[in-house]
């Protein structure tokens, strides 16, 4: 498609976004305002991630898109196609083969390497937003490192429910300074936020970009007597037998029958190719998928 510039955005816009990314990397966890463009897909559907991907992709990159951990969900397909069309980059479903991975709501199970970039789609970048609706106020709170409100919220959860009642988008503190929303990943994924790859978060509608450089300290907020606990369904994957991966629960029939399978489709398929078989799985070659 020659009507559009490589990866859709014009070079001036990419430069503006790259500046925001560099600033974000220089101040880990800080939300950098950027002049988000209207993209040909709706706000709330990954426009922040798409703009970040457009700014970091080069013609030699191999691109992977996942939504809920899966490569074949409709919006992941739509975004992957967008870059196939506008950038002509190679695409893959294999985590290890991708140089840029755009994700919504998951971190791949497989550890990322230093030469990989993980781009997150972010709906609400402000971790304090549901405690304080005003952006003017929350920016002030970040500037003053005034995070008491967040701790009060977590404390109130414990006093009311006996537990911290946040299961996804669990707040973290980056390099001892900024409290950051890791996007709506399950808290199971939080420990993986300390990684070798570069992580960039794009919020298009809210016009914010933030980042975590490689090997940056990322601490999930908790209390000494109520330590942070990453959780997942207490099962193994029924397809590949994995016990350490995050699982989706599927309702099989109206009698309450259910099964569990890896949310990371590439991880699951790779394990099945290697010969792992779960309780309800069949050997890989015969699988209908």
């Amino acid at each position: 498609m020659s009507d559009y510039n490589f990866a859709y955005l014009d070079e001036q816009t990419k430069r503006m976004i790259r500046r925001a990314i560099l600033k974000g990397l220089a101040i880990p966890g800080y939300q950098v305002p950027f002049a988000s463009r209207e993209m040909p897909m709706p706000y709330g559907w990954g426009t922040g991630g798409v703009q970040v991907s457009a700014a970091v992709l080069t013609p030699d990159d191999t691109f992977k898109v996942i939504d809920q951990g899966a490569d074949d969900t409709t919006n992941a397909v739509s975004i992957r196609r967008f870059f196939q069309k506008t950038a002509g980059v190679a695409v893959t479903e294999a985590t290890a083969e991708a140089s840029v991975i755009q994700t919504r709501h998951r971190i791949p199970e497989q550890d990322l390497r230093a030469d990989q970039i993980l781009v997150y789609q972010v709906p609400i970048p402000e971790p304090l937003r549901f405690l304080e609706p005003s952006e003017v106020e929350t920016r002030k709170m970040h500037a003053l490192e005034e995070y008491g409100l967040m701790h009060v919220k977590l404390y109130e959860d414990i006093s009311q429910h006996g537990d911290i009642a946040t299961a996804y988008a669990y707040p973290v503190k980056v390099e001892g300074r900024y409290v950051m929303d890791p996007s709506p990943i399950p808290k199971f994924d939080n420990p993986k936020l300390e990684m070798a790859g570069i992580q960039i978060f794009g919020a298009g509608r809210e016009q914010r970009i933030y980042a975590i450089p490689p090997y940056t300290q990322v601490v999930s907020l908790d209390f000494d007597d109520y330590p942070f606990q990453p959780t997942k369904a207490d099962h193994a994957c029924d397809l590949c037998g994995a016990e350490e991966s995050y699982l989706d629960e599927l309702i099989m029939n109206d009698a309450g029958g259910r099964m569990f399978m890896c949310s990371d489709t590439d991880y699951c398929a790779t394990r099945r190719k290697q010969g792992h078989v779960g309780a309800q799985g069949v050997p890989y070659k015969e699988a209908a998928t």
């Binding site: 002049a35 209207e38 040909p40 074949d72 919006n75 996804y168 709506p184 399950p186 509608r205 629960e249």
Partner: protein
């Protein structure tokens, strides 16, 4: 045996094909042309141009056709196209005083130089369905008169001469472009007006209505509402002077609002301002009311905590493309986050049940 959900690509292709078929409708009925939409659905075209922030009736008509008449979808198409266009620069401010008015009414003076011109308005039509239109009725002959030549002075300028209306400081500098710089608060009035003029008509209307009903009331008179074409001029650096690059139709509304005064200043009227692409008077009046409500700080009024006074609330929620995108994204899969909530609520319930049965046992 579970077969993993695959086939997203084929589903998308098929959905698009079905959409195209639905768009065309019954093949027995002649297809709408873009020109027909442009000429006969002009107010829809105007709204799409205004909220799409792109003055191009042909593209707006095309977008309406493509969007099956869903105007917010059409606005979205225009916005997505607009953002790919280069920005050459800024025009000079349009001189609305030189407008060739098709409509010009004032609610504050019975008559004024330039006269009252009703123009093609729905205002005094009786809202009775006209079944003649269903039978392809041709319009009756329209009476013609000599158009008003020369400038039509603003009604406000008469009040200005008496010093009755608060003066607006001239802004020489080129204001920021809302579409090129991230919105940061507090925003200048220029940015606020940009945001209001492209904001959702329904949202702005609702906010304006709320001020009329007492949420930050500042009784507004429509000093003047005018609709017509104005020349757009731009300074061309290579030439060293301004040339006309085109003509656009705009709707301008100036309201005169309740006066205020202080120990140092005698009472004066204040104003609200609306300027919108096309024939869009509901929007322009709404914009003027909301603009006025947002000016409470600069005019030394009290913050009554009304939504229309809250700059952040208004500016962050007026854009229907942002709003509809985020609203509709909840259709997308959320099973990962939902799964984590499932586990959490099961755990919390288990703990609660255990606690209850422990208490019962004791």
């Amino acid at each position: 045996m579970y077969v993993a959900v695959k086939g997203g690509e084929r589903a998308i292709d098929n959905a698009h094909a079905w959409l195209a078929e639905e768009r065309r409708g019954d093949l027995e009925v002649p297809e709408l042309s873009v020109a027909q939409i442009r000429e006969q659905m002009t107010l829809a075209v105007n709204r799409v141009m205004a909220e799409g922030s792109l003055y191009d009736p042909d593209l707006a008509a095309l977008a309406i056709k493509q969007a099956r008449g869903d105007l917010i979808e059409a606005i979205f198409l225009i916005r997505a196209y607009r953002t790919t266009l280069p920005r050459f620069g800024g025009s000079n401010p349009v001189e609305t005083e030189t407008m060739q008015c098709e409509r010009r009414v004032s609610a504050t003076f019975k008559d004024a130089p330039g006269g009252q011109v009703l123009g093609p308005t729905f205002d005094y039509t009786h809202r009775l369905l006209d079944f003649k239109l269903a039978a392809d009725g041709e319009p009756a002959d329209v009476a013609m008169s000599e158009p008003h030549r020369g400038a039509t002075p603003h009604i406000m300028s008469f009040l200005d001469r008496e010093d009755l209306i608060q003066t607006e400081p001239a802004g020489n500098d080129v204001p920021d472009d809302l579409t090129r710089t991230p919105l940061e608060l507090p925003a200048s009035r220029a940015l606020r007006l940009q945001s209001l003029t492209r904001g959702d008509e329904g949202f702005i209307l609702g906010l304006a209505y709320s001020t009329q009903r007492g949420y930050a009331r500042n009784h507004a008179f429509v000093a003047e509402l005018r609709i017509g074409s104005v020349a757009v001029e731009m300074d061309i650096p290579e030439l060293g002077f301004a040339i006309e690059i085109g003509e656009i139709t705009v709707t301008e509304c100036e309201t005169v609002n309740q006066f205020q005064g202080s120990k140092t200043q005698p009472p004066q009227f204040t104003r609200g301002y609306g300027l919108v692409f096309g024939m869009t008077e509901r929007k322009a009046i709404s914009m003027a009311l909301v603009d006025r409500a947002l000016r409470w700080k600069e005019l030394g009024e009290d913050n009554l905590g009304a939504p229309a006074q809250d700059e952040e609330f208004v500016l962050y929620h007026s854009d229907n493309i942002q709003a509809t995108g985020f609203l509709e994204h909840i259709k997308l899969p959320h099973y990962v986050d939902f799964q984590s909530e499932l586990e959490l609520i099961r755990k919390l319930r288990r703990e609660a049940h255990d606690a209850i049965s422990r208490e019962a046992a004791e």
